[in-house]
Amino acid sequence: MSDIPAELLYTKSHEWIRDDGDGTVTIGITDHAQELLGDLVFVELPEVGDNVESGADCAVVESVKAASDVYSPVAGEIIEVNEALADAPETINESPYAEGWLFKVKLAEKADLSHLLSADAYQAIEDVD
């Protein structure tokens, strides 16, 4: 059984979102996602300053099995990316919810978080998977 922290929000496409409380959010992929992908070997991150729409693909995580797009669950501006992943993509496997975060977004004014899933709702999706 994979780890699904209760304080985070989730998407059907296996991203997690942490509300940092200051109009910014941190985004990564879930424990379940890293488990499905297997050992990660490459991560492509967005550029700081990029404006992203909700649902737009903005990063790629690649394992020996598959390359997978990561979608921004919210609209806003990329304000920080986890540079350390370039040399150590395995960090995502080891610590998907902490050191393995992917990027931070400053929420656009129109940004809407109401479509995001609670831990329980995400658990239900994972159970079907």
Binding site: L36, D39, V41, F42, V64, K65, A66, A67, S68, P89, E90, D129
Partner: protein, 484 residues
């Protein structure tokens, strides 16, 4: 052992033959190398044995069953190779006058006509030099068509999530945005999602039918109508043409453009990255844009169709007419089979796949779409084995190698967890298929009783389990001499 590691300073190929002094003339001193090239210094016998030994370590269709789904690894008849190697064909120079090349031009023209007939398209060009180039040509023609009508607001190509990765790559190479269309639980395209995605921005849709999920999309006529109504065109990825050869024609399903992988359906060799051939066929409205050169025929003579005759062409994709030797093999194959043989290709490739699927289900394996009839390939998922026994698809694949079977395609399509995509092709006999099924059952037993044997496979090959994670993270393909 690498050939470099066998090198001994001063050893050379001509053991007993007298050496002629080598004189260099006309090369200025400044441009001569000061140290000899770091080539391996071995005898001729060593070189012969080294490369012969390497060739014997290969898995190949000539030595092993190769059920690599999505790749159609069928037998390449030797007769076709012989035809393509006839001196009259091999010695043609591409610049030879048409009047001296009527034979080879006739072959190309016939191949164009046969491919046209079997796919139901209005015209075919043979010139793309591989499947990926065929895809590029196909999308480029869609673009040329919209641009010729000043319909330039069409910026999106729709692609189902089950598609081959080459489809989005080709669309992006042609300057389009890609929008993904989900697949329904039955394996067919989600029509509601398609309806939502279609609009004035839709340039076209790229479909593989049968899809990579090993099922034929039953709603293809509805899809074609919906896309055409929105003003988009339909692209047919010919990867899985083997399943429908002589049975259903993409042209009749409503497709506007198709590429064919001659190395799959028409049995030309799957080289190590080439040479390939990816002819494209089009409906009436895309004819002006076909890549050149093509071969025309006026009832008396065969002749090249070039920029002059086809001013709106998307252009040339390679020097001359693509990989001529590969086209000749496909021509010989198509002539050898004829119409009746083509039907049998589809019938036996589908029969073999469904036979294996049924037998594997009987043996306790889980099909991805048990309620659907398989096409020429099918998917089983080892999700249960992975979660209950800790033995995953990769372990099964590696253990199959120990038994002399090339592994099926693993972990593709991405929609199905722990999957094996199995394509037996029509050229395998029943005993080979039974042998594979027996070995799968044996590995399943091992996974329960002695899982470590499976998890550490292969055991009988020249190399053991490779660390593919390390290889991907620290790619190092360069051999360096040991410091002396």
């Amino acid at each position: 052992m690498l050939i470099f590691e066998q090198s001994v300073a001063g050893r050379h190929a001509r053991a007993q033959a007298p050496r002629q002094p080598i004189t260099l003339s006309g090369i200025p001193d400044a441009q001569r190398r000061k140290t000899p090239a770091a080539l391996p210094q071995v005898s001729e016998m060593q070189a012969v044995r080294h490369y012969t030994r390497l060739s014997q370590l290969n898995f190949s269709i000539d030595t092993h069953f190769y059920p690599l789904g999505s790749c159609t690894m069928k037998y390449n008849p030797r007769g076709c190779q012989e035809v393509a190697a006839l001196p009259g064909l091999v010695s043609r120079h591409p610049y030879a006058p048409e009047s001296h090349s009527q034979g080879i031009l006739a072959c190309f023209h016939e191949l164009q006509e046969m491919l046209k007939d079997i796919t139901g398209m209005a015209e075919v060009s043979l010139s793309p030099a591989a499947g990926a180039q065929g895809e590029f040509a196909g999308v480029a023609m869609i673009r040329a068509y919209h641009e010729s009508r000043n319909d330039t607001a069409r910026t999106e190509i729709l692609i189902p999530d089950a598609a081959h990765g080459t489809n989005p790559a080709s669309a992006i190479m042609c300057g389009y945005k890609v929008r993904e269309i989900p697949t329904g639980t039955d394996g067919d395209i989600d029509l509601d999602a398609l309806a939502d995605a279609l609009g004035a921005q839709t340039a076209g849709i790229m479909l593989t039918n049968p899809s990579t999920l090993g099922v034929f999309d039953r709603k293809i006529e509805t899809i074609a109508t919906m896309v055409h109504k929105a003003g988009g065109l339909l692209y047919y990825d010919g990867a899985n043409l083997n399943a429908i050869l002589g049975k259903v024609r993409p042209g009749d399903m409503g497709f506007d453009v198709i590429h064919m992988n001659l190395h799959k359906t028409f049995s030309t060799p799957h080289g190590g990255g080439g040479p390939g051939a990816g002819p494209v066929g089009v409906s009436e409205r895309l004819k002006p844009y076909l890549p050149i050169p093509m071969v025309g025929y006026n009832g008396d003579d065969y002749y090249w169709l070039t920029e002059k005759e086809r001013p709106e062409t998307i252009g040339r994709l390679s020097a001359f007419a693509g990989n001529a030797g590969i086209l000749l093999r496909a021509w010989a194959y198509a002539r050898m089979l004829g119409r009746e043989g083509m039907h049998r290709v589809a019938e036996f490739s589908v029969l073999n796949a469904n036979y294996m699927l049924k037998k594997l289900i009987d043996a306790g394996f889980q099909a991805a779409y048990p309620e659907r009839r398989a096409t020429h390939e099918f998917i089983i998922t080892l999700k249960r084995e992975a979660s209950e026994l800790g033995v995953n698809t990769m372990d099964f694949a590696k253990r199959l190698l120990d038994h002399g079977f090339h592994a099926p395609t693993t972990y593709f399509p991405l929609l199905i967890p722990e999957c094996l995509l199995i394509e037996p092709t029509e050229t395998e006999d029943k005993s080979t298929l039974d042998g594979f099924i027996e070995v799968m059952s044996k590995i399943e037993r091992e996974a329960r009783e002695t899982p470590d044997v499976v998890k550490t496979a292969p055991h009988n090959l020249p190399v053991k389990r490779l660390d593919d994670v390390l290889a991907a993270r620290q790619l190092d393909l360069r051999w360096r001499p040991k410091a002396v």
